[in-house]
Amino acid sequence: MPPVAAPEAGFPWIVLAILLPLAGMVAALPLGRHARALALLLIPAGLVVALLLAAQVWREGEVTYALGGWTPPLGIALRADGFSAVMVVTTAVVLLGVALFAQSSFRAPPGEETRAALLFWALLLGLWGALNAAFLGNDLFNLYVALELLTLAAVPMASLEARAETLAAALRYLFFALAGSVLYLLGAVLLYGAYGTLDITLLAERAGPEPVTWAAAALMTAGLLAKTALFPLHLWLPPAHAGAPAAASAVLSALVVKASFFLVLRLWFDALPGVMTAAAGQLLAALGAGAILFGSVLALHQVRMKLLVAYSTVAQLGYLFLMVPLAGGGGAAQPWDAGAWSGGVLHAVSHAFAKAAMFLAAGLFLRAAGHDRIAELRGMGAALPMVTLAFGLAGLSLLGLPPSGGFIAKWLLLTTAMASGQWWWALVMFAGGLLAAGYVFRALTPLLARTETPVLPGRPVPRHQQWAVLGLALCSVALGVAPLMPFALLQVGRPEAAEEGIG
């Protein structure tokens, strides 16, 4: 098999989407104090690349790229379908917001290089590259490497403040993540042993429902769930996400956990569609339901705002897994087919925006008040009205209330659940929405309370940070007003199993 010319005609945006951030990370180290400037240059550029990739997928359909010209199974292929393109664009937009927010917090004094400033930007670029590698990879082993890249960028981010509790949280995060990747790798090994390839497209052709495939799928799923922090493997998430600096929390909660979720879907719907059983789908959804209820109740009981937001992530991740048994469950009555698939993905995207906004908002309250104890944030709403508004708008999406991306997502999941007769998942979603209302309004109430004397921020909060937060929150709302564009993009290269269901 001699090297063949790249089989596709278009410009390889797919390669550039991965390359740009990773090259940036490599360059950040020798650039030292200029790393921030580099990142601020690359992130908008990366957004353009992401959009161009999405446009390419939109125009030409699924994009594949054989790296080095070596086609699978020998070589590694990259693949972008609508789902990947949506995730890559989402990542770039969230990062743009986060970068805008962080550009003043992680800034070294002129002519000097500081630890936090250099490492934040270098890790952020590395994390971005890892995310894109995970969204665009089509080889299970390569995805393992991408996941490790992600872990090794994410864990130091969680402990960037290097306080005792963040060190412990980061270490716990590392253990869960490592155990997760090893289990994932173990499953991949079994698949290679059985089918002689790890290419997702080839596996879909070769893998059949056999015990060894089930074992592999179980191991890989378990590993990915540990990384996604799906209940009951969520223990590491709240302290790790709440302890990180606000900008890092936003990225970790909005994007990093989504990568492993993305891979669960890749595995179940793309690589092994004929292998998964309906019972396994129900089990996964049951864990999701557990996450929704358990996470929401715990969020209701948090005293600190960042922990509340972190537990809300635990809960919101649960919704994503409800889509597994629902996919393909649309009855004949829906003109929108594969409603649950689109709903789940839309939920992942709108949650990414909403959660990033919430963590950044929580960070600003923390900055302004010097603490983030919810009950003592009285009157902050008057001091930071824009941030409060952003927090409320993001909350809208978490509640799944219109107009927000969260609502359309939930709507699609709900209608599919009812149409396929799985009403119990609908009930869970309703309960989750009410609980979410509980914790979002619990956080908002003290903010809006009137105080005798106007509250002044202890430290000034820069205007551009407020705009960044509001911008991200508006993105999550905008998805509810015009979800059409991502929706249509999502249909490109949609796995068949998404239409027909699993098992």
Binding site: M1, P2, P3, A5, A6, P12, V15, L19, L22, A23, M25, V26, L29, P30, G32, Y65, A66, L67, G68, G69, W70, P73, L74, G75, I76, E113, T114, R115, A116, L119, A122, L123, G126, G129, A133, F141, N142, V145, A146, E148, L149, L152, A153, P156, S159, L160, A162, L167, L186, L190, G193, A194, Y195, G196, T197, E210, P211, V212, A215, A216
Partner: protein, 310 residues
């Protein structure tokens, strides 16, 4: 055949026994020693599995560097765990669960199809285009070069992660403590004797890597070990992390890899592709740069976060 079979059985038995001891040992130090021994035994197992490249990597990295890393930290972290572990019943249950996983895996192994699917024919068909003789190197640098690229970035990120733990005031400083060995002591003697030999071995392992077992990772590890030894013997000091030269060395491998990979976009029609005529030269160039960067990265990973002010 039978003799080898018996040897295999013995080896496996010892491996399992040592692994169990490493988990069950009472104190941390003993567990670490068991683990290093385990690494060496596993390297033997790799030889038995016709994977000399892996055996080298395992001996150098799995047993060697990981061992140094763990032994080094055992010397500095003395405390025992204070949180009580799970109770006896719980431990039994967990043990049963883990045993069940093992049994299931064993069943999966036994149920793998015969004949085994493999990529051997594909590799054999494609290897001439790379000009390499060692198929493992061909996979690492050509067919799955993208994996290797990401892997070097994993190392770099890990180093950034380790450095991120330094206190702000020490940022830019040197990692670890200054080692001063007695000039006439064994360490100093070894420190003077081994580096030249190690250097030679390292370069050799790198050089033969294109055709024989060996290559950038194994060679880089050996060179890293040499450097670490020199540091421990007090012959040289760990460089300050703000040093531009050091940083350039650290990124040289990825930069060259990325650069040649990008050039492939234009001359070979695909990112990370090589034009067949120049394939071997390019691959060896990438490997050379990688060896250098890997050596520096691994050594600094073991050295740890900056602990001395710049």
């Amino acid at each position: 055949m039978t003799a080898l079979w018996l040897l295999d059985l013995c080896l496996v038995a010892v491996i399992l026994a040592v692994a169990l001891s490493a988990v069950a040992a009472r104190d941390l130090f003993a567990a670490t020693v068991f683990f290093v021994a385990y690494g060496l035994l596993i390297a033997l197992a790799w030889v038995r599995l016709d994977a000399v490249d892996v055996a080298l990597a395992e001996a150098a990295i799995g047993a060697g560097l990981t061992g140094v890393l763990l032994l080094g930290v055992t010397a500095r972290v003395h405390m025992e765990a204070r949180t009580p572990g799970p109770g006896r019943g719980m431990r039994l249950a967990i043990g049963a669960g883990c045993a069940a996983v093992s049994v299931a895996l064993a069943a999966a192994v036994l149920s793998l199809p015969v004949p085994a699917p493999s990529l051997v024919p594909a590799v054999e068909a494609a290897i001439p285009a790379t000009g390499l003789g060692n198929p493992v190197t061909a996979v690492l640098l050509a067919f799955r070069g993208y994996d290797t690229l990401l892997e070097t970035l994993v190392l770099l990120l890990a180093l950034l992660g380790v450095w991120s733990l330094a206190p702000d005031r020490l940022w830019g400083g040197r990692p670890g403590l200054r080692h001063r060995a007695r000039p006439e002591g064994t360490l100093a003697w070894l420190g003077r004797l081994l580096p030249p030999i190690g250097l030679l071995v390292g370069v050799y392992v790198f050089w033969i890597g294109s055709d024989q077992p060996g290559g950038a990772f194994q060679a880089g590890t050996i060179l890293a070990a040499v450097w670490l030894l020199a540091i421990m013997a007090g012959l040289s000091d760990a460089p300050p992390v703000r040093s531009l030269a050091l940083r350039l060395v650290l990124v040289a491998g990825p930069v060259v890899f990325l650069g040649i990979g990008t050039a492939g976009l234009f001359v070979a029609g695909a990112f990370l592709g090589y034009p067949p005529a120049a394939a071997k030269t390019l691959i060896v160039t990438v490997e050379a740069a990688l060896t250098l960067s890997i050596a520096a990265t691994l050594a600094l990973l073991v050295a740890g976060a900056p602990e001395r002010a710049p």
